[in-house]
């Protein structure tokens, strides 16, 4: 969600009052068949987006890393690039005129819990970075007790890998604190973005709760993917949290103890990114200032058996 804080002066007392204007919602989702295979090539007219049951008018549409299109009032489309009539915020949401692709934020756990698999994890992440679509940008952050921005968002794979290879093993694990800071950074970047967490799971130093962090991701429309290097049953608490924060944000969780599984998990994420649809819309009037449920329906009859994976909703920022 792109939101703008508006500072107005109330009539009485001339003191600042804060209201939020919800500019636009960015929604990414994937469509799969009953066997989990991605369904590509669907058109804007194949979807209906609803918020609390209210049908939304889609402003722009993009598939994978292909350039987005503007949806005109009559349902026809026009390429987004170079289109003068597309509002700047919509262009920005999809990365601007010249930019397509996804902004990928990798959050790499370098705490004590990762000590044993540290180097293999680095290899797997490096492979993932190398294999990203050329249009994608990538940032590599590492964390233990504090976050470290090892490499800022870049399209230069070498830069990202260089940052990754400079990671230093740390001590305590503040996973959710660091995830929150990563989401805050990601929220500032226009375009489609995802956060990929690569961690062993346990957290022993965060002061924020996973679900509060998940809310931020949900509201900002940033899917979280988690690759846990632990076994799913080893740490039930972390596994449950990982499931919640990924499902609720439109991402996925993987349990990949071995290097091979980690590579597979990354491959799956890469496929997800390349096969997802992204739409933007300006929410239709809705009195609900709390959690707004998003539903993506596939309009065409033939596709009724398809499964859509998207974030379940978001919470617009309220006024004071």
């Amino acid at each position: 969600m792109l939101g703008t804080w508006v500072c107005a002066r109330a009539q009485e007392g001339q003191r600042p009052v804060f209201r939020v204007k919800v500019d636009m919602v960015v929604l990414s989702f994937t469509v799969t068949d009953s066997k989990g295979r991605y369904i590509n090539g669907l058109k804007p007219s194949d979807f209906r987006i609803l918020e609390d049951g209210i049908v939304q008018k889609v402003a722009t549409f993009a598939e994978g890393n292909r350039p987005g299109v503007q949806i005109l009032d009559d349902g026809s489309t026009r390429p987004l690039i170079g289109s003068p009539s597309v509002p700047p915020s919509a262009k920005e949401a999809l990365g601007g005129d010249a930019v397509v692709g996804t902004n990928v934020f990798i959050l790499f756990d370098t705490s004590n819990f990762m000590y044993r698999g540290f180097v293999y994890a680095e290899d797997a992440i490096a492979d993932f970075v190398r294999g990203l679509d050329r249009a994608d940008s990538v940032a590599v952050y590492t964390f233990s007790r504090n976050l470290s921005r090892a490499s800022a968002l870049t399209r230069e794979r070498g830069e990202a890998i260089q940052g990754l290879r400079k990671a230093v093993a740390g001590d305590d694990t503040a996973l959710y604190n660091s995830l929150l800071l990563t989401l805050r950074d990601a929220a500032k970047v226009p375009g489609r973005k995802v956060v990929i967490v690569f961690s062993n799971g346990p957290d022993n130093a965060s002061t924020v709760a996973p679900d509060d962090v998940r809310s931020v991701a949900e509201d900002e429309g940033i899917p979280i993917y988690v690759i846990s290097t632990n076994e799913v049953n080893k740490d039930a608490v972390s596994s449950g949290v990982f499931r919640r924060i990924t499902t609720r944000t439109g991402g996925k969780a993987y349990w990949a103890k071995t290097w091979q599984k980690q590579v597979e998990a990354f491959e799956s994420i890469r496929e997800d990114l390349g096969n997802s649809y992204t739409v933007t819309y300006y929410p239709a009037p809705n009195p609900n200032e709390g959690f707004r449920k998003i539903t993506v329906e596939i309009a065409s009859d033939v596709a009724k058996k398809y499964r859509v994976r998207a974030r379940p909703g978001y919470r617009p920022r309220g006024g004071f």
Binding site: A150, A167, N204, A205, A236, V237, V241
Partner: protein
């Protein structure tokens, strides 16, 4: 006609003089108003227009006063103008100032020329001695680059070469060894094992590098590539060419490769593009204090390289640390006279307590002057005249207790020093400390364990009669020890307490208790009550002290509150205790928590307003008493709501709320600054931040709550329900999230807290005012009672106002966790009530609960909030150490003072002092009298080793290097000490100091400056009221007192004030700028260990340089526009 020409010239001269005077007057007025930039422009224009020596000099001196490096060029122009006039005296004065500026800037070549010019004009300047060449013999070789070794050994890259071995030794001693699981011996930690493994890998790489010391891989196919990858623990996947990828084949080696920062990505890239990979792998030479032969025996030497032996021997590291702590000349005397084994055996004592040792002309320098020398001789058993033997015996004596006593007394100055070093007292108090059994010594643990002794000696106060101030009376303390309320403090002391007749008897008991390894409650009581008295005009009455002492265990954490309002009467303090006890007696847990929270939040605001001077001292007592009165007897939630609202009314009335302001607006305005700020923009920034926090916490505004309460009253009188108003509350309630209490069983067992907090949130979620009104069906009494439902909301709003006021920069927790304020647990664990204990952060790192939350009272709220926030800081260096105790304290020091009432004259005063302090150091480089004066002051602040280093550097003319070792607070003290003693002011900074001192004495006196730029010291001085104590920086001490180390660091705010003055940031912006600068400061600290204070200094200066670079460009651009 000649007379006419003369008259015209005279007239023009007078006009020019008048104009110049007029300009200077305007400049002063502008500065007084805080518009230094306009003043600067005015002078610049005058200098530009006239080009006269006088105008140029005025402009140069103005720039000099503000620390602007541009003053040098203007001084040069003024000098040229004066050369034409032939005024040699003024020329000499400018040459001297330029010489000082050259020395401060580290421009030795220019300084050398300048000194000649100065002498040619009749000035006197001693030549500085050339620096001795570094001794090539004392070097240790480490394979590979320092950067890699530093990463593995957790050493800051900012360390100077000569600091590396000491930092390494400290890391080995504190982190290198742990108790073995299988036997009594120590075993290496993973940290040290990795350092050893790295060295082994580095030697292999060194071998591969060959005599050229360069790793060179010509092509991907070369055999050297394979060998290099084998050593690094990697292999190539895919054949040589653009597809080549490096992947791990040996995890142990690969870990070392990546953790040590080997340029693996570059290697991979070069292999891929088939370009030669070249990497300089020259060994690193690290200076050591003494020849290797001295530190290790010939037998040990055969065991390998020095660095390996050093890392493998913690006692050798401790010896090195001990010798590093000593003043070099003293260390040399000891080294020459004593066998190394002897020193090694007591290295731990030297390390912790040797820093104050000094030998001069073969004699030990002892504290206490000539009269105490005999007592030292008696205590130690050797005369101080035999310097080496004296210190040898001192470190051996009583397992380090004697050395720790010597150290503690040597750090003192002033009347307390004189009192405690009176020979009989010295002996008596040492006997008390020593006791019968000396083991374990205070140097045995990882940190110094004589924290209580240092605290007692440093913070002791003497009364007007020259005797120690004993809070209350001797009788009170006798009673406390004899009829101790919670068990004996000490059997022997209990017996003899009945015979106490003199303050020294109490002091002796406190010294004796410093030995106790368990919590030293009497000392804490003594310090807390002494600090209360310290700030009061009239000391607390004995009866009050007696009660405060006896109830310290329950309410001690609250006593610091009274230090923010020193005019609080004894009666109100007792009323506070009565009220707290009354709240404790409320049986309903939820009501009790709400009562405690509401009362504490109101008292918290009273504390803030008293501290910031919003409440006049004369009113503060009555205000607190009136707030407390409402909580004396709380029967139900309706009464509590009325008491809470009553408390708000008391605060509004006392702070003179505007008629048109709503309660919430008024309180936020006051909490964010002043109600009618001069700088609306800065004020609004703070208001906005606070409002965002309140919004993020979904609190209901006071206005809504009070309107609802009034409306319920009105409905009870027959009015119709205001649906919009009731819906406003309902809307807010709907936003309150479910408490996240899904603790796992492990978590629930480990931290069984939060039950009542969850109930508190649930209770709010269930409130349905509309239904209540409907159910009441017009029953007036029921409708009136319904306002009790608003009580939990009122508590949260009042608590949230406190949270918002103290919110640290970033405030991620407050913005992210909407239940953080509501989740404050005022009850704590059952069976261990925490209602009146200091605030603590609980529940971090438990993924399935609701995140961290604060537990306990609000008395330690600023620290707890800062603690919760510290892990959100992003260090600029991946390895940077974020100190657990240091960082929260720095954060709260940047938030609590607020600087609302700081004047431009005050920031300029601090800036002038710091610059004048620099000048004094520069002067010391060529003026022996100034050198002596500087060192006299510096030796009262810096440890002998650092003082000697500074002295040496000054003698060599290395002023810039000397300045790097002097803290801003030391510079300030140095200037404060010297300024009043200087003869006629020839220096622009000194002249301005004198002028301000005469013009605005109320703003720039010691007390006012301490109040404006001091730091809060909740542990050291039991107070959040900012003040400067001018203490030596404490070393790292054990236990709670590690916070003391952070609290004794007073340089940050002084530095920021001088910086703001330099870049013309008005004081009204300090409120916003200092938290920002502090965050940057913390994120850039790259320290190697807990006592690495120079790392803080480095970071402070780095941030200062950045700010200067950015803001000075703006200033110059603005001036350019104004001049054109």
């Amino acid at each position: 006609m000649k007379w006419l020409r003369s008259a015209i010239c005279l007239s023009i001269g007078i006009n020019f003089a008048l104009e110049a005077q007029d300009t200077l007057d305007k400049v002063r007025q502008l500065e007084r108003r805080g518009d230094a930039l306009a003043a600067r422009t005015l002078l610049a224009r005058a200098a530009q227009d006239s080009g006269s020596a006088a105008d140029l000099l005025h402009y140069a001196e103005f720039l000099d006063r503000y620390g602007d490096a541009g003053c040098r060029a203007v001084y040069e122009k003024a000098l040229s103008a004066l050369e034409r006039s032939g005024d040699r005296q003024r020329q000499a004065s400018i040459q001297r100032r330029l010489l000082e500026l050259d020395l401060i800037a580290g421009n030795r070549e220019s300084a050398a020329r300048r000194v000649e010019a100065y002498r040619s004009l009749g000035g006197k300047a001693e030549s500085w001695r050339p620096a001795p060449p570094p001794d090539a013999q004392h070097l240790v070789t480490v394979p590979g680059p320092m950067r890699s070794f530093g990463r593995m050994a957790a050493l800051s890259t900012d360390l100077k070469p000569e600091e590396v071995m000491e930092a390494l030794a400290r890391n080995v001693v504190t982190n290198g060894y742990q108790a073995s699981h299988s036997n009594e011996a120590l075993e290496q930690t993973e940290y040290l094992k990795l350092v050893h493994r790295y060295l082994s890998q580095a030697r292999e790489l060194e071998k591969l590098a060959g005599p050229s010391r360069t790793i060179r891989i010509e092509t991907c196919e070369s055999p050297a590539a394979g060998e290099l990858l084998r050593i690094l623990g990697y292999r190539m996947r895919g054949g040589c060419g653009s597809e080549v990828v490096l992947e791990t084949v040996n995890a142990t080696r690969a870990f070392l490769t990546t953790d040590s920062g080997f340029p693996l990505a570059e290697l991979e890239q070069d292999l891929r593009t088939n370009r030669p990979f070249v990497y300089d792998f020259s060994p690193t030479k690290i200076p050591i204090l003494y020849p290797q032969d001295y530190l290790i025996g010939s037998k040990e030497k055969q065991e390998g390289e020095f660095i390996d032996i050093f890392l493998s021997d913690p006692s050798l590291c401790r010896l090195y640390l001990g010798l590093s702590k000593l003043e070099p000349a003293t260390a040399e005397e000891l080294r020459k006279a004593l066998p190394v084994q002897r020193l090694r055996a007591f290295a731990h004592v030297l390390d912790f307590y040797g820093a104050m040792f000094r030998i001069r002309d073969g004699k030990a320098v002892t504290t206490g002057g000539p009269r105490a020398r005999e007592a030292w001789a008696e205590l130690v058993g050797v005369s101080p005249d035999q310097g080496v033997q004296f210190f040898e015996r001192l470190i051996m004596k009583d397992d380090g207790w004697m050395a720790s006593y010597f150290d503690a007394l040597s750090r003192l100055k002033g009347p307390v020093h004189d009192y405690l070093t009176e020979p009989n007292r010295m002996k008596r108090f040492y006997a008390a400390i020593r006791g019968k059994v000396t083991s374990p010594g205070p140097a045995r643990p990882v940190f110094r364990s004589n924290a209580d002794m240092m605290l007692l000696t440093t913070r002791l106060r003497l009364g007007p009669d020259g005797k120690p101030h004993i809070p209350g009376s001797l009788e009170v303390w006798r009673g406390l020890f004899v009829n101790h309320p919670h068990g004996k403090y000490d059997g022997k002391l209990t017996r003899i307490a009945a015979t106490w007749k003199d303050p020294d008897d109490v002091l002796e008991a406190l010294f004796a208790l410093c030995r106790k390894s368990v919590e030293n409650e009497p000392l804490k009581i003594f310090m807390a009550l002494s600090d209360l008295d310290r700030n009061r005009e009239k000391p607390l009455a004995p009866a009050t002290v007696d009660r405060l002492a006896r109830e310290y265990r329950f309410f001690g954490a609250q006593y610091a509150i009274f230090n923010d309002g020193p005019a609080v009467s004894d009666a109100t303090i007792l009323q506070f205790l009565d009220t707290a006890q009354a709240i404790n007696k409320i049986r309903d847990q939820l009501l009790r928590a709400d009562a405690a929270g509401t009362m504490q939040a109101l008292v918290g605001m009273w504390q803030i307003f008293s501290r910031q001077g919003v409440l006049a001292p004369a009113e503060s007592d009555a205000v607190l008493s009136n707030i407390l009165a409402g909580f004396a007897k709380i029967g139900d939630d309706r009464e509590l709501f009325d008491s809470g609202r009553g408390g708000v009314r008391v605060l509004l009335k006392a702070t003179r709320s505007r008629d048109d302001a709503t309660p919430q607006e008024h309180l936020i305005d006051l909490l964010a600054g002043v109600e009618r700020p001069s700088d609306v923009e800065s004020h609004n920034l703070v208001v906005q931040e606070m409002m965002r926090i309140l919004e993020a916490q979904r609190v209901v505004s006071l206005n809504t709550l009070f309107e609802l309460a009034d409306h319920l009253e009105a409905i009870s009188r027959g009015e119709r329900m205001n649906t919009a108003l009731v819906n406003r509350l309902a809307g807010r309630i709907a936003e309150i999230q479910l408490p996240r209490a899904s603790l796992s069983s492990v978590e629930r067992n480990a931290i069984a807290f939060g039950y009542w907090t969850e109930k508190h949130i649930d209770e709010q979620r269930r409130v349905n005012l509309r239904a209540v009104i409907a159910r009441a069906a017009g029953d007036a009494e029921k409708l009136k009672s319904a306002r009790g439902l608003l009580t939990p909301f009122l508590r949260d709003t009042l608590v949230a106002l406190n949270y918002a006021h103290y919110a640290p920069p970033g405030a991620q927790v407050l913005y992210t966790n909407p239940l953080f304020v509501r989740g404050h647990d005022f009850l704590g664990l059952s069976g261990s009530p925490q209602t009146w204990r200091s605030t603590e952060l609980f529940g971090t790192g438990w993924p399935s609960n609701g995140g961290g939350r604060l537990v306990g009272s609000l008395s330690g709220l600023p620290y707890a909030l800062a603690e919760a926030e510290q892990n959100f800081l992003v260090p600029s260096q991946t390895q940077a150490l974020i100190w657990g105790d240091l960082v929260p304290h720095m954060i709260l020091s940047a938030k609590i003072p607020r600087w609302w009432k700081v004047t431009p004259a005050q920031t300029h005063w601090v800036g002038l002092h710091l610059r004048y302090g620099q000048k004094l150091l520069a002067q010391a480089a060529f003026d022996p009298a100034a050198h002596k004066q500087v060192m006299e002051v510096l030796e009262t602040q810096a440890q002998p080793r650092r003082a000697q280093t500074v002295s040496e550097l000054l003698s060599h003319g290395e002023v810039a290097a000397a300045l790097e070792k002097v803290t801003p607070s030391e510079l300030f003290l140095l200037a404060s000490d010297a300024a009043p003693r200087q003869p006629a002011p020839g220096d622009p900074c000194l002249a301005e100091i004198r002028r301000l001192g005469a013009e605005v004495p109320g703003e720039v006196n010691e007390k006012a400056i301490s109040r404006a730029f001091g730091t809060p010291k909740p542990t050291l001085a039991n107070s959040y009221r900012p003040e400067l104590l001018n203490l030596r920086v404490f070393p790292a001490l054990m236990g709670y007192s590690s916070r003391i180390m952070a609290e004794s660091w007073e340089s940050n705010t002084l530095y920021w004030a001088a910086l703001a003055d330099e870049v013309h940031v008005p004081p009204s912006q300090l409120n916003v700028r200092i938290p920002e600068w502090t965050q940057q400061l913390i994120e850039r600290i790259f320290a190697s260990n807990l006592e690495d204070w120079p790392a803080v200094l480095r970071s402070l200066r780095m941030v200062g340089d950045d700010v200067r670079a950015k803001l000075k460009l703006q200033v110059e651009a603005e001036q350019k526009v104004s001049l054109n």
